[in-house]
Structures are given as structure tokens and as C-alpha cells.
Symmetry: C2
Subunit: 212 residues, 2 copies
């Protein structure tokens, strides 16, 4: 392992603060106790250099020696190999973590994020499309409620899968999407009470506040 | 490697045929020339055994000896290790494939799928929420257009990342979402012309038709 450098925006508006995806990487790095430093790219003026690291003009990306990695899921998978606080070494246990890591992003966030984007606009119109997306989210949360009613963490011990799933469910909770899902809420509370989350969150808030 | 068993539904309605996610796994297995067999679970009656393999009641899952893996992304990552037709061995090249694999699912499908669900309902109301999701998709496709205008495949040679990205863009194309994105359309045409896709697609269609 070489120097780990996490790149995020230099500043973002109030609304996304506390939810910018560098949080997931900070959280993982804190859980594993890995040394890292944070660098910034302009939020307002995203140039060719930015797109060469992150082709959607988003953040974060992680630099690890010769590696420059975008996508929070790919970054957490990469970091997982450095610490069994993030991902177990046993192949079957690791496989379980990896499937839940994908589930957080592709089965749950894919339902939560569009819903949150609609909620963000304040739109309350019950169009057929809106009803479809509400039902999509509701079904996914119902199944997560069943899963989380029976276990503390997704795959045995706390892992990168929990970092992603808790962060995704936290976004639903922000717009009161978990009121009928107490096990999901309890899980978010449990995950975000971890000192590593508290530090990662405070660090992100301080990072953006410093640019105001 | 032991016997590979791909589990999908015994039947689905006309609409999703050709787009059920077992296609991604079939495609990867065909690309790698790995032997496998397909098993079915009831579409209409999803029991505890089904949920023990796939906690959202969806398909597919892959059985590989003692491993039972859900999430198409996790399955393709698992299979990638078996063949450099799916994922290169070199660590940097592999890392690039993995970040694009996540990008397909978490940056592009997360914008395409909710939009496709709305299109599926026939909803044409231009609510603020709808406009937000249209813009979300449009921005992501714009960036993919830039990427795909410059390269044949996402990460050097064809890989699991292309299987996922092409399958995701194919869904946008189904609802005419790529009309202003010729490089994306060309990429989908290139990917779906591969004999492995043609066979995987025909096999899925035949599988569901057999149950009619």
C-alpha cells in the first residue's frame, strides 16, 4: 500500500453536505485505521483532469500509488483487501460481503436515489410513474426490513457492505422514507453511532464549511 | 470450479423477456465458454427457499459449489476470476474493469432504470420530479457518449464491464432513450452483435417461451 489520497469537491451547496459520497470512503478508511489525506477539485469548474479521473464529473476518487479508482463501490472493494475490519479474508464470508455491497448499490440505492431526487424537488403529484417508483422503493425496503429484523450487520461482522447499505438507507431516512421500517431505522442508528462514521461525517462537514 | 448453476424464473410476462437479468450471467458464461446449467424457481409463488438465495425475491442467483451468489454485479465479478475473456489478470487492468462494472450499475443503471419504469407506465406528465429524473439520465448519457465516442470497449478489451454497460444502455434504447446518443447506440449494437449475446438472448427467450 502506498499513500492513499481521497479526492472530493472543494465545496458543495448546503443540501448535499453530509451526503457527498466521499463520506463512504472516509468511513471505510477510518474503520480500517488507514492513513490518508484529502485533496479537492473545483465544484464549479470541472476540467479535463477531473473527467480523466471520474468520467461523470462526480466525486470521489481514490489514488493509491499507480491506481486511480472511481465509483464508491469499487473504492470500498479495493480498500477491503487491506483490512479485515472492512472485508473478511475467508472466501465464502468475503463473497457474502461482496453480494451485499452490490445489493446496497444496485438493489436498494437504485430505488432510494430516484425517489430522493423527486422528494428533493418537493414534487407531490401522484402520477403513474411516481406511483411506480414509490412502489419500487417500498418493496425493496420491505425486504430489507425482513433482513435487518434478524441481524445486526448484513454479513456476519460489520463490513464495507454495511457502510454502503447504511449510507443508502440514511438517504431514505432523510426524507422520512423509513417511518414504517423500524428495523431499517435501527440499523442506520447503529451504523451511524460508530466512531468512524461520526468522525467521517464531521470531517466532511468541516471540509465543505472551510470553503464557505 | 465446480458445477455452475444459474437460477432464474420459470416464466415471466412478455414485457421483461429479453431483459431479465439472468441474461447478463448467461452472456458472461457464454463469453468465457464455461459449462453451466439453468434451473428455475416459480415466478408466481416465491417461497422461503427463494428468499434464502435472493433476499429481494428477484433473479438470478448463481450456485458454484458451496457458494450461492445473488446480484448480477457480484456474480460477474465472481465469474471474472475464471477467465481473462471476462476480466484481465493484470491488477491495474482488472481494477479498471471493476470501476466500470460499478459505473454501469451505480452511475448509469441508477439513472436508466427509474426512467424506464416511468416510461413503462406510459406516464408523460412533466412534473418537477420527472424533469429531475430526465435530467439525471440525460447528464449520465452525455458523459457516456463522450467516453464511448473514443473507445470500442470500456476498459481495453471486452470485459464483464461491457456486458453490464451494454445491457443497461440496451434498456434505455428500448424506450428510445439513445436517439441523441449515437456512440452509445453504436456500442450497444457492437456488444449485442457478439455471438455470446445472441445465444444468451435466444436462450432466455426460449426458456420463458417454453413455459407459456
Amino acid at each position: 500500500m502506498t499513500d492513499l489520497i481521497l479526492t472530493t469537491f472543494d465545496w458543495v451547496p448546503e443540501m448535499p453536505r453530509g451526503f457527498v459520497r466521499d463520506l463512504r470512503v472516509r468511513w471505510a478508511l477510518e474503520e480500517a485505521g488507514l492513513p490518508y489525506r484529502v485533496e479537492s477539485v473545483p465544484f464549479r469548474d470541472r476540467g479535463a483532469e477531473h473527467f480523466s479521473h471520474q468520467p461523470f464529473g462526480q466525486v470521489p476518487w481514490l489514488t493509491d500509488g499507480d491506481f486511480s479508482i472511481f465509483e464508491s463501490g469499487a473504492i470500498l472493494l479495493h480498500l477491503g483487501v487491506y483490512s479485515d475490519a472492512l472485508m473478511p479474508v475467508d472466501p465464502r464470508a468475503r463473497s457474502e460481503v461482496i453480494e451485499w455491497l452490490f445489493a446496497a448499490l444496485n438493489s436498494v440505492e437504485m430505488a432510494v436515489l430516484p425517489w430522493a431526487l423527486i422528494m428533493f424537488t418537493g414534487d407531490t403529484e401522484e402520477t403513474p410513474g411516481r406511483k411506480m417508483l414509490d412502489k419500487f422503493l417500498d418493496t425493496r425496503l420491505k425486504h430489507m426490513e425482513t433482513v435487518l429484523a434478524e441481524r445486526e450487520w448484513l454479513a456476519g461482522a460489520f463490513s464495507v457492505a454495511d457502510i454502503l447499505m447504511a449510507d443508502v438507507l440514511r438517504l431514505a431516512d432523510r426524507f422520512d422514507g423509513l417511518t414504517r421500517h423500524p428495523a431499517c431505522r435501527g440499523y442506520v442508528a447503529r451504523a451511524t453511532a460508530r466512531p468512524s462514521f461520526v468522525k467521517a461525517h464531521a470531517d466532511q462537514m468541516a471540509h465543505f464549511a472551510a470553503a464557505d
